[in-house]
Symmetry: C2
Subunit: 354 residues, 2 copies
């Protein structure tokens, strides 16, 4: 049922897929006998070159676009946006990896609320300025994803699991289970979870993370409490203010799981100002493991995400689709487990003897 | 002596420069009488359409490239590079601003040590994939700048003053003079300066900053001491280690001016670990004013750089060059003064009465 790919042709013809690609794109560079044999195999297998492979025959741009969905609401806080550290890291990593693959990176923001927003993005492909796209979206029903799918454009979703699409994402539920499980083993019972949302937009991962949080509590026999799930956006400022509010409540929680490291930096600051000892009174855990975690007071426990590996996988997969080596209907999907990096903002636990 | 521009033609002909541009690029859209009149004015002024204006007649890409020079040595520390916060901010700001101007951002790294590196970058222009380039270079003699100049490609240098080129840069010397002047007025005398260099590469601004440092000391009647000018790279780790080494020396300095905020974060951490009180014993000042400065313990005094304004100026100027409104030999150059943001890592001073 699966579409016949260049790989299938190559396997049957007993040549490399690069040779098949050459036959398609630069037949003049291939010996006539090989050309004829590969051509016969293509006919035999009823092979139809993909859109991508055909566009290679015109002129590949050797460019891929990295498109950040900025949601239906325009992002009004420009400074906040510019200093969105994790996005900056992802973007720089894509630049580095595409470069190493001999591709050029085109970067666009995509705002579903903007008139012509969608056509401005897809025109990058229709005008052959990019060969494929990496999409960083908030929602599985992002119209850009639907549009790329309808147009058979090679695309890859980064950071979100979209059925039948190629994607790389963190195993968010598992990561939070790890964090909460660790906190429980250090004796924490009232574990506060900062959600990561703003103006109705939330991190794509929030639902998964909440599940992980609830599962870990259940596994420890702890009752989930709605008052411990706290709204908070992704900024240090929000982490700071949310924590000041939280401290006015009684009883206080004994741990805070922040939506990301930047939020956790604000949490630490608020606790320090209020004279709350970390981790003796309250433990704090971040998310992303930014370099900066090693320099806070106290140093921040966080969960490491293999961003470079994820980007490598995204770029490699996308290039396979662009070059016709991977069929569009054969998505490559990977979940990346996080690695908890324990520092000084959480307590050690007495390891049970085994 | 200056090259005749579209603007000159428009002024003489008494029409808008958009009309002149239309005559050049879409003459069919202009009334015949206007076309003939503008044409006569062009001949009269001996006007030669610029390369950019001529390329508009083909097909503008409506794209600009943002090229980061990564120096002659390849950057081996990928994680460090990815988390290069200031570069991430600059890149995201360019993406935001080019977007608002209806342009697409292409991002490349350029490594002078790589074979074909230069031609891989300039081919973006020769293949008409971008209309112009913003270059973030370390050195005024960066071969990319010379090459773009030789090819009459519209380009803009960001963060470095290159004679006869359009550029935006921070007034580095002035910024350090402000910082050191402030420290002196708070009673500091042994002011340590962390240089910002690595493997022979240094921040383009280092020489300017050193001048500012020495001028401020001289103005205060303080003797410059070579042992207070300390090598350090741009990472928190380097700030941390350099400070630990520094503290083993006697006598200790009473202030540290870090190469950037990330370095300062490492400085604060080392001082905290060693029980040195900030600012009572040692004052610390960063550079860039990252959001994070408000959340360190103590909060970090730093110097704010108007990145958004600088990027706006870069993109606007480059588009003027691309569209032929600004002649290549009429560079737009701006120095941006920093604004010192005093927080808790430096002491207040008693303002002298005037």
């Amino acid at each position: 049922m699966a579409r016949v790919t260049i790989k299938d042709v190559a396997r049957r013809a007993g040549v490399s897929f690069q040779t098949v690609s050459l036959v398609l794109n630069h037949p003049e560079k291939v010996a006539r006998s090989t050309r004829e044999m590969v051509g016969a195999t293509m006919r035999e297998l009823d092979f139809v070159p993909s859109l991508a492979a055909r566009s290679l025959r015109k002129k590949p741009s050797r460019s891929i676009a990295c498109v950040f969905s900025v949601g239906a609401q325009p992002y009004d806080d420009v400074t906040g946006m510019m200093q969105e550290t994790y996005q900056g890291i992802v973007l720089q990593t894509f630049a580095h990896v595409t470069d190493r693959h001999g591709y050029t990176l085109v970067h666009r923001r995509w705002n579903a609320g903007e008139p012509d927003g969608l056509s401005r993005i897809t025109s990058l492909v229709s005008e052959a300025r990019v060969d494929g796209m990496v999409v960083l979206a908030d929602r599985r029903d992002d119209p850009l994803i639907a549009s790329l799918r309808a147009k058979s454009v090679p695309f890859f979703v980064f950071g979100l699991d979209v059925p039948e699409a190629s994607f790389a994402m963190r195993a968010e539920r598992d990561a939070v289970r790890q964090i909460v499980g660790y906190l429980v083993r250090t004796g924490c019972k009232a574990i506060c979870f900062y959600k990561g949302e703003r103006d109705g937009r939330h991190l794509p991962a929030v639902a998964d993370r909440l599940s992980g949080y609830r599962e870990a509590l259940a596994a420890a026999g702890l009752r989930p409490r709605d008052d411990l799930v706290v709204p908070c956006d992704w900024s240090s400022e929000s982490g700071y203010r949310t924590t000041l509010r939280l401290l006015r409540r009684a009883p206080r929680p004994d741990a805070i799981v922040a939506a990301n490291d930047r939020v956790a930096f604000g949490v630490l600051k608020a606790l320090h100002e209020q004279g709350v000892r970390v981790p003796d009174e309250i433990s704090v855990v971040g998310f992303d493991n930014l370099v900066q975690c090693a320099y806070t007071v106290p140093r921040l426990t966080s969960i490491e995400v293999p961003t470079l590996e994820m980007v490598e996988f995204a770029v490699t997969t996308l290039i396979e689709m662009i070059e016709g080596v991977r069929a569009p209907h054969d998505p490559a999907q990977k979940l990346y487990p996080g690695r908890l990096v324990v520092r000084d903002s959480t307590r050690p636990f007495a390891e049970a003897r085994r």
